[in-house]
Symmetry: C2
Subunit: 554 residues, 2 copies
Amino acid sequence: MADSELPHRPKPEETKEAPAEGGDSKNASKNALKKAAKDKAKAEKAAARAAQEKAQAAAQDANDTAKHLYGPIPPTEDVLPSIRFADLTDDHYEKEVTVVARVDNARVQSAKLAFLMLRQQGQKVQAVIAAAEPISRQMIKYTGGLNVNSIIQVTGIVKKPEIPISSASLSHLEIHIRKVYMISEAQQMLPMQVKDAERPPPEGSEEGQVDAEGAPIVTLKTRLDNRVLDLQTETSQAITWISSGVSELFAEYMIKSGSRWIFTPKMVGAATEGGSNVFEIKYFKRNAFLAQSPQLYKQMCIAGDMDNVFEIAPVFRAEDSNTHRHLTEFSGLDFEKTFRHHYHEVLEFAEDLLVFILSQLKERYADKIAIIQKSYPKAGDFKLPKDGKALRLNYMDGVALLKEAGVDMSEQERFENDFSTAMEKQLGLIIREKYDTDFYVLDKFPMAVRPFYTKADPQDPRLSNSYDFFMRGEEIMSGAQRIHDIKELEESMRAKGLDPQHEGFDDYLNAFRQGCSPHAGGGLGLNRIVMFFLGLPNVRLATLFPRDPQRLRP
Amino acid sequence: MADSELPHRPKPEETKEAPAEGGDSKNASKNALKKAAKDKAKAEKAAARAAQEKAQAAAQDANDTAKHLYGPIPPTEDVLPSIRFADLTDDHYEKEVTVVARVDNARVQSAKLAFLMLRQQGQKVQAVIAAAEPISRQMIKYTGGLNVNSIIQVTGIVKKPEIPISSASLSHLEIHIRKVYMISEAQQMLPMQVKDAERPPPEGSEEGQVDAEGAPIVTLKTRLDNRVLDLQTETSQAITWISSGVSELFAEYMIKSGSRWIFTPKMVGAATEGGSNVFEIKYFKRNAFLAQSPQLYKQMCIAGDMDNVFEIAPVFRAEDSNTHRHLTEFSGLDFEKTFRHHYHEVLEFAEDLLVFILSQLKERYADKIAIIQKSYPKAGDFKLPKDGKALRLNYMDGVALLKEAGVDMSEQERFENDFSTAMEKQLGLIIREKYDTDFYVLDKFPMAVRPFYTKADPQDPRLSNSYDFFMRGEEIMSGAQRIHDIKELEESMRAKGLDPQHEGFDDYLNAFRQGCSPHAGGGLGLNRIVMFFLGLPNVRLATLFPRDPQRLRP
């Protein structure tokens, strides 16, 4: 039969199990998929029923005036140019367009009328199909019964709706369907609905609950378990663009500065930079480790006369921290640079880098930021310094500001402790209040809280030539002038309880024995920049497929 | 004493051990460093001698008219702007300049004359110091005795030499020294000399041999063992710029095309994509694996409606291959993209990407390429198609070209085998001869030699919609249209002996059960592109700190 390309699939509403309380697939358990797959008896029954329906449908199809206008996409149709939602304007009124989009929702209003909400990278447009030559009842039934999340190709006339469609992103137009073809069919039962994942779950809510409007709550866990669906929300689409933008802007600034893009090894022979928080790898017949940062290698590039280098690469931390801002794998934006007179040359370079990234994000991604703020309005616009220069305070200025606010540190604590997370956040609020900025820099941290390769402050060796960058009171970058003198470096190692004779340090220390220019640098966390810039409640929302001590999938 | 900032260090020629045959430090064993460090008795003797010399030097210094003009850099001097070698021109004749550079060579001609060869990122400039008010004999001795590889700050007058200095990169000028200060001193004994590493070792040569000109041969192993020194050569400097350039151009092209920069996880829960060639990690209380490619994740991004994505990230392969072109860790340039009508849309996009990268390298990095060709002239200029469009042949065209050249494959071999490396290289020569290009594409590989997610050719299921890219007859990219239909995908897995029910595939397969657009993509090896573009004999030369089954350091 030449009919084999027509839609003989069983229609969704004909085969799906009736939910216990007549609800829709919104309430489908996320485990339904696995259960269904295992239930072979049911599947066989359904197949028999489907075959019967197929025969009935074939009989109907004989009278279907529209049978070439819907169903599996015919090869001859495979040549229509399609338009993106983003490019649809008033100019398209009364014109025919073809779009490829997901079914966000499908609804049969009557035997003569059905509606689709179409979704393309989170944006929504309504489509409508009504009985009128050559549209058949079968075609309306097919369209209204399309499985949610299927990808279809729709051809139709763009019309201006009588009243704007508030649930659509493009509320001022709708598509009157002439053809609708299946490109990729989604299964009926989805573990969650994309539209439910669009709403952030209220704090403390649990899976299976409904929100104030009676809509199902999808927890962060369910969203991350089903991250591919979750990425389809308008908010996730926008967040992944911001993440892309941060790395693009970082690379752009670094390249413009004459910096060289480097790729340092992630598999290293020794756990030199701390030890306990490092992942171990089986490397053929011996062990290796995953690099906790490119620190030692980017310094070796400087010793290798590379002068100004940057890297964009994964960073691995075997910390058993289960917080809203810790990951075991994140994207590091690292740089290292020689200077001539003072490490503040590099510090200023880094400050300008951040001001560039954050201000350009606002400029280039204003529409994406606006979308995200609909879901996460709480933190408000990210405030940048008005004069385009970063606010830089000394660590001890921060101590003083906290003291004014009633949070005192003893003389000993000031030089031996870092701020706690709570103190950092409070300082962020104080600085926002006083200086009207969410981005600032603290310089001259106590030497006691910095790693061995940090240069001590020549004026006061209890302090160091090191700095942290903060966004909304949380750290996004740590950096410093590095010791480039071998004797000073070996002394610093010993002072920190490290043994310069340890074999694992050989290559690193030799780099300094062979001459090395004064240099400074820093390492930024991409995911944290995205998180704090947007005011997201969890770093996992700013990460494509997050990894933490509990999560290794998807 | 206010004299404490003057140069009381023992002079190199006064303290160094006389080499056995009066040779210079060129012949120093690479193990000298470790031996020396352990030989405490010697060190103490040397220290005593140094103290004695220091006392003598102090006496001499009292009469030194130039004592403020050399030695450790005084804080008051720390403010001179310095000029880069690259910016030195004829306009500087008779003008005073300050440069910061390494000592490539230091030589005392007489009590009144010494020469320095200065090196800055591989480029060389000669400096000379002659006795004349206020330059003292002590200052000349100090300058001529500087340890090779030390970083110094030199102030002097630029002069035009009577005859060009052929050993310098800037042969038309020299600097007449007025001041010379130490910024970072290198130890006397280096494991190898940077200038010896500038010459590639003749094939089959061994450590300790000398070449036809009597200069020491430094093998690849020694160079890689001492990679920081090796990076300082003019050739390595240029190669690392080309590597930087390839990733810059890749990112530039992708961003211009509207692609989103993604960061997929490198630690994964299951070894899904092959199994045996995967590194295992201890992940808290369980095991994880290092991703062999971002393949499954970039496809999941496409299923997540990201439409057009790219990644620049390390790729890990636990292959015990010890060849000139295999690494256990390399930099992958990956992309994945939806298409509308035919996978050739994506193939053409990728072909244009490579033409863009390779032609722009020639345009933007002509000077670096010229430097590298001095050391590696054999391969010659990389030939690109004259019309700016990639040459695309089918795999079976390649089979036919090889047959013409006398290399036949049986009917069975054609569909079940891939080309061997030798056949690929021969085909590269045939194509260069016939089409005058070193870059070309083979399309439609046999399905039998491609991974399970590859789309079969609908016209001939023995073939597939897949392609490889070649440079000088060696593969630099593999790519294909991917199967986006879940049933087809599960069948393909079973045909390749994989179990779609395996838990590790759940997340990947669910992405297709929930609807996915037709898409294609590819993965490029950055290190191989650099290697074959430049005609380097070994991929390790195109890698900052290479990793192979034998090498985990530096």
